[in-house]
Symmetry: C2
Subunit: 406 residues, 2 copies
């Protein structure tokens, strides 16, 4: 079975795609809401994390022997906690593992959802380490009017999109909470819940009296996979394997809490590597939203739909008239097509040329949009071809509790 | 295996013992604290439950074809919720099941801990229904400075004392949360957590900001076994099997919450049958406490220890001098030996004679204490003989996930 799965996932990996960075400026970030233009410099200070530096990028290239992902070079992943300790572990030949996840609230993912998975796949390939991926179907029941069966079904559907990103079956364990909570996982949830007071949880997550008690308890469910012995089939009862969590910056509160709590339980603090948000088509109003189909490009969209959405909704920093554009050029700071290209166009030279031409007025909005449409449609079509290869049997193989290559 | 277990548990059942009622008057009752003299009449009004009547006792005798337990006749179990619906179900030949439990906080049980199990065994024998017994090892970690491994070990130790009460292996499923939470149980915990707000939980249980978030979430863990499909190996996905919960009245808040929540999830409200508290040796200051060895008789005490504790600590309603006692007689309302006899002396006539003689001054404190010492020591020795028969294999057999006789 594993061999057959590998054959398919290798095919999937061949279809793999890469991405790019942008900047922003604003306020109000928690795991459920991002409001206003985000100032990432301020966010780093507010959250107390550190910036990713060029030295980090060089060090990562040196210790993996691979070129850094453009998400790193362009600082799409711009912030970290304890990344240096992970790199030091790698340099000393000590093991670590990756942990990321998704709340399966919708049928299909949008491009913003793909970003952490694309980056995690790069990290797995570069560092050759085990990866655990949590599907928080339980969270989605607590936060949304979603039935349990529907949440479980969406988790499996989303798993297919995740697997389509090309993860290595020998090094990847996928789990959905409704199936996997129990045993050591439940014990770790209990230990973490015991270590966090209601006051602390309210301070970190802003829970209100009218929130349900499941929400109040949930942070421990998202925290536990940062403890290696939550996965006895992978790590046995080893508490000392370090964990690196690639995620968007809005998930930081969960892991700030985790980092406060776990040392006294005998674990290392998990390290984090955190990305900016993927902007909505309409611009800097924050993350893309699954609930507004016109705010996002979905991985299920056709080339024609992508073309329509980009032409109709993608906020342009170009000037109002041809004459003005030729004269003043586009404002790249607010231009969504330019931001999207920074996420998904791999070719550094070509990207620089486009930036130069568009900002100087040599290139028009329609032209950059046409380039973007091709980049996105190619990427989405490749994703769709990969996802079509992911059968229920392959999902089961990734969900199976089994040892991984360490 | 089941046959061998049955042989032993039948032996255990032969060793079985029964108990008795008393009354009280006071305040402050929640699942963790009982303070002051309890007024059970007021408690019924405050909690909104109903009194057990003589009609209930007669109806139970009629529909089970068995004499009622003296816990019922003497109103040791004095309050209920929806007991009539359970009896109606029984009369119509519809199934129901029993659910009780224990928080394994100490190595050995005291006599007060035995009361609900002795009564539950009677109910199982009389109604011939399945029984689930929850060992909340997780609760004890959240509330006490107890490690997880220690809580799990205590759960198994306590299981032996519970099994020694003589439960029917064909109709009894025992589970400890750290082993059993997961799957449908976790789904039901999630459904209940989703239905209870932080405000509601604080209103019912009085949680404070400094309480840990596990405590806030825990009521759903104790509520879920009142939903039959928490046990797929017993009830499949049937949501409509009624549940009757025998417990001490201090557990009422958990099930008030459960009853509020579960109808909108498609279940019947669980019914309750609730006991008074077992008094401490020192008298009406509330429940016996495991933390004060001199407040309680433990099931591990020797005849000699029981004799010393009763003679030294059991609060007496007898008069200070022989002359005064002969003249005024004892005050049964505050006399602990009399209360204990009402719990554990089965013989109605003999009990009435003792009450008459002691309250009129014909019997002295030393005499009633001597009678009590014999009753308790016989009972405790019988329990110890039964417990010695309960091997780890028998515990495993009761913990095994399997169908039960319905």
């Amino acid at each position: 079975m594993v061999d057959e799965v590998k054959e398919v996932t290798e095919k999937v990996a061949d279809l793999d795609v890469k991405g790019d960075a942008q900047e922003d400026d604003g306020t109000e970030v928690d795991p459920w809401d991002v409001k206003g233009k985000v100032d990432y410099g301020k966010l780093i200070k507010k959250f107390g994390c550190q910036a990713i530096t060029d030295e980090h990028v060089t060090r990562i290239e040196r210790c993996t022997g691979m070129k850094a992902h453009h998400f790193l070079k362009r600082k799409t992943f711009f912030a970290h906690r304890d990344l240096d300790q992970i790199l030091e572990a790698k340099e000393k030949g000590q093991p670590f593992y990756l942990y990321t996840g998704r709340g399966p609230s919708s049928e299909s993912l949008h491009l913003g959802h793909l970003v952490p998975f694309m980056f995690t796949k790069y990290l797995q390939d570069a560092f050759k380490v085990p990866l655990v991926i949590q599907l928080t179907d339980d969270e989605k029941v607590l936060w949304r009017s979603l039935g349990i069966e529907e949440a479980k079904r969406l988790a499996r559907e989303n798993a297919k999109d995740i697997i389509a990103c090309g993860f290595d079956i020998d090094r990847t364990f996928l789990f959905q909470d409704f199936e996997y909570v129990g045993g050591k996982f439940y014990e770790n949830i209990n230990s973490i819940q015991r270590s966090v007071t209601l006051n602390q949880a309210r301070g970190i997550f802003g829970f209100k009296g009218e929130d349900n008690i499941g929400k109040v308890a949930f942070p421990a469910v998202q925290a536990s996979p940062a403890l290696p012995d939550t996965f006895p089939h992978i790590f046995g009862d080893n508490k000392k394997v370090r964990c690196l969590i690639p995620c968007a910056i809005d998930q930081d509160p969960y892991f700030r809490m985790t980092r406060d709590v776990v040392p006294k339980l005998g674990y290392h603090k998990p390290a984090l590597i955190e990305s900016v948000f993927f902007p909505a088509l309409q611009g800097d109003s924050g993350k893309m939203s699954s609930s507004d189909p016109n705010s996002s490009i979905f991985v299920t969209d056709t080339r024609k739909q992508i073309k329509t959405k980009i032409n109709k909704y993608a906020f342009s920093g170009g000037q109002d008239t041809l004459e003005e554009q030729r004269e003043k050029g586009a404002n790249l700071d607010v231009d969504v097509p330019w931001k999207y290209l920074n996420f998904f166009m791999e070719d550094e030279e070509k990207l620089a040329e486009i930036g130069e031409a568009y900002s100087s007025g040599k290139m028009l909005t329609g032209e950059i949009k046409a380039i973007l449409i091709d980049v996105l449609a190619d990427m989405v079509e490749r994703h769709q071809r990969a996802r079509a290869l992911v059968t229920d049997e392959i999902v089961d193989a990734f969900l199976a509790r089994r040892p991984l290559s360490l």
